[in-house]
Amino acid sequence: MIRCLAIDDEPLALQQLVAYISKVPFLGLAAQCQSALEARAFLEHDTVDAIFCDINMPDLNGMEFVKSLAVPPLIVFTTAYSEYAIEGFKVNAVDYLLKPFSLQEFQRAANRLKERLVARPIEPYTSTPFEEEGLEDVLFLKSDRRIIKVNTSDIRYIEGMSEYIKVWVDNQPKPIITLLSMTKVEEKLPKYFVRIHRSYIINLNKIQEVNKNGVIVDAKTYLPIGDMYKESFQTRLGERLLGN
């Protein structure tokens, strides 16, 4: 299920958008908001995989709102203004629906969302050449023309940032930034690493606490669990989970 947020200041337009979301089986509505400010408040304590967002709204326009998000989910703009299209693609919107739009057009946008979000199935752990040579606990990361050795057991979590990843290592205030995809790094990590979100892979050994929607790593770090990853994460936890 792709968790969606619907934003439109016009009640009828919002109602229509919500109705469309309910018609696509793999979309789930997390919340509907009548303004970007309302949406911003919602995202302070919750996460979504995708946002359907109107652009021209009072108080705060949809484009500014999306630009203001630190880790924006996938965005589909819905608007009557065709002149925003180019700007829309600059903020890396998945799709751009011109009002009024048909269910078919909406479905196309939904399919694009799905393609972008496709959860990789959890593959059975297979040994890598490194493991055979006793190097499975080490990664070499290219960063800023240097090659940095990292003990994988020291990695707390990895954060995706478009085509880059940030590798957060114990006792280091700054992450190591490397040009690499989340998928690629995931392949090289030992099995105590789990993908919990489109933008996060976590080291299970570094988790302090898990709650319904996220994982506490330390007092300052709370990572959300994406809906697409909830089940696989629960399964991994289940292996070591005690108590009723």
């Binding site: 016009e10 009640p11 337009a13 229509q16 021209n56 009557a80 203004y81 009002k99 009024p100």
Partner: protein, 217 residues
């Protein structure tokens, strides 16, 4: 004085010239007026069509009503919008439709008051002057962070139409290059009424108020 006699044919020639000049001036005026002609915002159409599209599923009766309303509005803009003068009644009907369609788009958080004369005298005015101010009130007056209201009032006094349009202001810093609509309508009124009208705009930090007095024809 005598010296002027040989020049007597000149006034005749000047007369001909004047007619030609007058004609040119008139054409120029027509051209300018055409250039300044009000054009309804395409966004208004698209958003209204989107609302109707949603209404078809939600409330098909209301959808039909709204289509009729939009058609009447469009007919007026398309067929009467380029006339020099229209019946006052038609212009007020147009405003009524426009406001009804805008009301459909916004929640109760936006309070719209439209106060038009109960009886409309059989007079004429140039079309689509008042709408620019009403459109601006919707464009800049709506905020969901606090109550928004728009009050539109038209009264008739002897040979004059008095129009006021008051709106609360949104906090949004206005980045859009506004004012084209306003400056065009001012130029239009300068040409049409030959400066014989009154326009007062009060731009306060919390509200915006327009008072306009134009002659009826």
């Amino acid at each position: 004085m005598v010296l002027q006699l040989p020049y007597q044919p000149i006034p005749v020639a000047a007369d001909v010239g004047n007619t030609r000049l007058a004609k040119l001036e008139r054409e120029n005026l027509e051209q300018q007026l055409e250039y300044l002609r009000y054009q309804i915002s395409p966004h208004f159409f698209m958003n209204t069509l989107n609302n109707i599209h949603a209404l078809v599923d939600i409330d098909s009766e209301k959808a039909k009503e709204t289509i009729v309303e939009l058609s009447k509005m469009m007919r007026y803009v398309l067929y009467d919008g380029n006339k020099r003068c229209v019946r006052l009644f038609s212009e007020l009907e147009f405003i009524r439709h426009y406001v009804a369609l805008m009301q459909l788009r916004y929640t109760d958080k936006v309070k719209i008051t439209l106060d038009l004369p109960k009886e409309t005298p059989n007079r004429q005015i140039p079309p689509l002057i008042l709408i620019t101010f009403i459109e601006n009130a919707f464009k800049h007056g709506i905020s969901y962070q606090r109550d928004s209201s728009i009050i539109i009032r038209v009264t008739i006094e002897n040979d004059k139409l008095l129009f006021t349009c008051w709106n609360t202001k949104s906090n949004k810093p206005n980045k859009e290059k506004g004012g084209v609509g306003l400056s065009n309508v001012v130029k239009r009124m300068d040409l049409l009424f030959e400066y014989n009208y009154k326009l007062n705009i009060h731009d306060d930090s919390d509200f915006y108020n327009v008072e306009l007095e134009i002659p009826l024809i």
